[in-house]
Symmetry: C2
Subunit: 442 residues, 2 copies
């Protein structure tokens, strides 16, 4: 019977980030009846209105009318298809209309969720051991785990209340150069980031693009939560400000359509030149890499998403409208519930931020928010949350936890926060000799 | 405007294998009316009987009856889901029933096609620059391109009429060891391989497993074409002979269901041990890697495949029966058409093999079967085929081409072979001074 020691497998399998995902899944499995603020999953209510047959028909009719004819259009769903995708034009139209992102369909690749987009972009850009990826700290684990799979060095860049610290990033670029290395890209989710909830201030956005130009790196913009901005308070995506084509824009339909489609996209309109050949968009290179990872994104899944878009006038914003109301309601409800618990008395040093959108609230504790504490919370109080340390490639966040409210009902949020309050009053009292100020900003 | 030189992107983007896929797509795009023996795509006839709504309902009813209840089962399609997959039990049952492969559902991962399965297995096993992948030569480009993306060294192992040369593989293992390196895995498609059409003889199969045990590597078995074996002439899969758990078995539903689902699977029942923790199947490690590549395989796509299986008594063989008749008909038709052209007179040195199954025939020419020759074939004769050199990581195959007959109608095969014959009579005459015997076996 073949036995492999984990040490002889790829090092990413010993990465604490991948470990932490496994641990969270495992503890949710052991406490199925706990109220869980852990997963950042979309709310299931909109699933009830989904009509897969109608979306498929809608896309097929669209493709037939666009010149393919009905037989050929019907077959599209079942065949392979181009690695770059089938619905690029429909997505490009939506990005232009809704976000002011002016991208040619050839500059898009339709991917298996945003995750594959991140993976492909990193694979293209990380060409040698000297190449580095800068990331906001804290940071979505999807990008750091992809970097881990590719053995790419990650440089954490702190963020403050206005988002990524651009001066710190400039310093990191200089430090990398002095060490004979180079920051090739910087990952940032400028709108209500997972896990931090931070939004990059309007004035800081052009500064990041200027630095990217000056230091010759690309900005990887993850736009998953922008749609949750309050009406009238939307800020332009980095890609909409990107005259110099410094931004690779990554999006997902998991939140505004449904995660089970596993459809995302990447806008990569940078030019790639080869001696003796015409320049091609970076997207074409990403599509070539995709043939070696997943070949192409399921045409059935692409058709479901395109059909949904077409049913909503081709508009992502239109699709997102009802959903964003739901998420803002939940976030406001969570913050009110936390305020009530705070008024009822929580241990000194328990603090949380107040994001204006997104799925997440960060809470700082005066004690380590680790696996042991989570186990105590689950076993004794029936409430789950996510330890933040794995989101901090720079090593911080040990006393911070993330609360997600995206998929809960208001009553569940109330009950979950009551349980959390009882748990915190018992288990998050400052310990003698442990200063409350050493855990980093919440 | 950002301009990137291809040289600063990952080296795999300069790999001739990825280039060749791009070239084939490009030439097919330029000659849309040519008869094409190039792509190994499934035949579209079975698509007309597909009923996506019925398959989704069938799976949902199955999941509801299995204990989830109707509401929870309906939501499965739309949510994320476990990285390892949703339909592992249904696939494990089919493998046991149809192929004598006895695998626990926990030892399976449902992947985005066989391609992602290959990619994940390589990522797990290629842990250092010393780790090598052995492949049959010629070899499916999906595995060599995945190795290229990971920077993995590839060792070509020749095959003869009975399949992979096990003695040559033993020699390659020794040579690697002497060089301070190690063959971690050997990729082989034992049944009617793409592109060679070769089938591994029954007597050779256990010998490969014995060598894997002795030299401590894993066999990556790709089972895409086994279902095309003539009834009664099936040979056991390597995994069905695998008492020592040396085989990682990779399969796809692209051929027996439809490619647009992008669903494949991997059986990886090897034990992975970590100090201080219970051993887990290798499949669990692959699932962890998958979270960093595609998160999970679309539940909608998984449900389509599971529903199709359930509609056919849970049997892959049952699903494959009508399709295998179609493919054997096409292959026999192609071989008869080639024989007719041969009888009408083809240049000396034009030879082809006679596979008993699969999608492909290999043809050797007395002249280089390169991009220039393909261009002449497409432009002057309206017939396309695939140059074999990219399938030969060892550098052979320059005078060999691949003919795929899988998705054509008999009349198209006849007309295509007539065009091919006319082309060969004009362009494949042995050149003065060029020996016909130097191009390797067809």
């Amino acid at each position: 019977m073949t036995l492999l020691a984990r040490e002889v497998l790829h090092a990413s399998l010993q990465d604490p980030v991948l470990e932490s995902i496994g641990f969270l899944n495992e503890i949710m499995g052991r406490y199925p009846d706990a109220l869980s603020f852990a997963p950042g999953a979309p709310h299931p209510a909109p699933y009830e209105e989904l009509d897969t047959a109608r979306y498929l028909d809608r896309f097929t009719a669209h493709a037939a009318a666009a010149g393919l004819g009905p037989d050929r259009a019907a077959r599209l769903l079942y065949e392979y298809g181009p690695a770059r995708g089938l619905i690029n034009g429909i997505v490009a139209d939506a990005l232009r209309r809704d976000q002011g992102i002016d991208a040619d369909p050839d500059a898009l690749v339709i991917t298996v969720g945003a995750q594959e987009a991140m993976f492909l972009v990193l694979r293209a850009l990380i060409a040698s051991p000297e190449d580095l990826l800068a990331v906001s700290d804290p940071c979505f684990v999807g990008i750091t785990s992809a970097a881990s799979l590719l053995g790419a060095g990650v440089v954490p860049v702190p963020e403050d209340a206005d988002g990524l610290d651009v001066d710190a990033l400039a310093g990191a670029c200089r430090a990398a150069r002095r060490a004979g290395r180079r920051i090739r890209a910087c990952y940032v989710a400028p709108d209500y980031a997972n896990p931090g909830g931070t939004r990059m201030a309007a004035g800081r956005r052009p500064r990041l693009l200027e630095l990217a130009e000056r230091e010759d790196f690309l900005v990887l913009e993850d736009n998953a939560y922008g749609f949750t901005a309050p009406p009238g308070a939307e800020l332009p995506a980095l890609k909409a400000l990107d005259g110099g084509r410094r931004v690779v824009h990554i999006g997902t339909f998991a939140k505004v359509c449904f995660p089970g489609a596993r459809v995302g996209y990447v806008v990569a309109d940078q030019s790639v030149s080869t001696a003796g050949a015409a320049a091609v968009p970076l997207a074409a290179e990403l599509a070539r890499l995709k043939t070696a990872v997943t070949v192409n994104t399921s045409p059935v899944c692409q058709a479901l998403i395109a059909g949904m878009l077409l049913e909503h006038g081709g508009s992502l914003a239109e699709l997102a409208r009802a959903r964003s109301v739901l998420y803002r309601r939940n976030l406001a409800h969570l913050l009110r519930a936390l305020d009530r618990e705070g008024a009822a008395g929580l241990p000194e040093g328990v603090e949380w931020n107040r994001p204006g959108g997104g799925f997440f609230v960060r809470m700082r504790l005066p004690v380590p928010a680790d696996a042991g504490l989570l186990e105590a919370s689950a076993a004794g109080y029936g409430v789950l949350w996510t330890p933040m340390a794995p989101f901090h490639p720079g090593g911080g966040g040990r006393r911070t936890l993330r609360l997600s409210c995206s998929y809960l009902e208001p009553g569940e949020i109330d009950e979950g926060v009551r349980r959390l309050g009882a748990f915190l009053r018992e288990h998050a009292r400052p310990r003698a000799g442990a200063g409350a100020g050493t855990g980093g900003a919440p």
